[in-house]
């Protein structure tokens, strides 16, 4: 993934989020406070603008720029969480060609960051329930963008059956079951956008 593809990733993700803004918000209305789409659309619109406005040397630089913008502009739990994930991926990518095992290193760093920030583990009905299966897949079979997207989608769908024990949805206890986790859905879009960006000319 070269620097242009990395920038394209952020642009593509932003587009997904703008399109799915209302859908994400409606998911969050069911088990949260109904702002996930608004938060993500606001933050990544800014991130996309910031990334577009500059020229970057490396993928790590693009990710860092996006991270800083997302952290300060999202305004919900997803702000610190996606901000941390992007920042950790940037740090893991630093000085490396982003390909093969480096993706696994980046995803692992992001997951460590998300866990540290949110004090959550897998199975708690959060974005981690998408990120962790993706990492496991990449670790066991190597990085393949199409398979990453597919894994993310399946993992996202499986959050429906989970009971939330972290975040706003945890107040609902067993009643959170039967609904997709909004952050898991937005995480799926992140991996879908990655697959799209990698199809761009290198």
């Amino acid at each position: 993934m070269n620097v242009n593809q990395t920038a394209a990733w952020i642009q593509s993700y932003n587009q997904h989020l703008q399109e799915q803004k209302d859908y994400l918000t409606s998911l969050d209305r069911k088990i949260g406070d109904g702002d996930h789409g608004i938060n993500m659309a606001r933050g990544f619109a800014e991130a996309a603008k910031a990334v577009e406005a500059e020229t970057f040397e490396t993928s790590a630089d693009v990710l860092k720029k996006a991270a800083m913008t997302v952290m300060s502009k999202v305004g919900g739990a997803s702000g610190p969480l996606y901000g941390t994930a992007l920042l950790k991926m940037s740090m893991a990518a630093k000085g490396k060609d982003v390909e093969g095992d480096v993706f696994a290193e980046m995803f692992e760093a992001a997951i460590d960051g998300i866990k540290q920030r949110g004090k959550a583990e897998t199975g708690e009905k959060t974005m981690l329930d998408v990120w962790v299966p993706v990492l496991e897949e990449v670790k066991s079979s190597g990085f393949d963008a199409a398979i990453v997207e597919e894994t993310a989608q399946k993992a996202m769908e499986s959050t429906k059956d989970l009971t939330a024990t972290k975040g706003r949805a945890s107040y609902l206890k067993e009643r959170s079951k039967g609904h997709l986790d909004p952050g898991a859905v937005s995480s799926y879009y992140l991996f879908a956008s990655l697959a799209e960006a990698l199809k761009e000319e290198a």
Binding site: M71, G79, G83, R168
Partner: protein
């Protein structure tokens, strides 16, 4: 006065209101409110929190940070990490009741440790 207070709430009204309540009782305490998003909506803003935290730490030797709901905690934690001081304590005690108690104790020159102890005694482990 050496202990200051930062109030991080999803609601600007809550953060300001708690600050008012405390101000009435303890006029000259370093206390700042960081409530709502930059647009004034419900939510938290890393930048707002960071700015408010800087203002408190300029005046107070140590700072206790109160927050209302989980996602406010994450933004507050980030702001604290950026500030790189070990004299800032983030606590999970009730924002209004906890901050009121802490403010009164700070006004009678209790130390950070003494105040944290009082908070635990009153509200349980943070």
């Amino acid at each position: 006065m050496s202990v200051g207070i930062l109030l991080v709430s999803h609601s600007g009204k809550v953060a300001e209101g708690v600050k008012d309540l405390i101000h009435q009782v303890v006029g000259d305490l370093p206390i700042e409110a960081a409530g709502g998003t930059d647009e004034g909506e419900l939510g938290t803003s890393f930048e707002k929190i960071q700015t408010a935290l800087e203002k408190v730490t300029e005046k107070a030797e140590s700072t206790i940070v109160f927050y209302d709901l989980g996602s406010a905690r994450m933004n507050a934690e980030m702001a604290i990490e950026v500030t790189e001081s070990d004299q800032i304590k983030l606590v999970s005690h009730p924002i209004l009741e906890g901050a009121y108690l802490a403010a009164v104790e700070a006004s009678i020159d209790k130390s950070l440790e003494e105040i944290l102890e009082s908070l635990e005694k009153e509200f349980g482990k943070s």
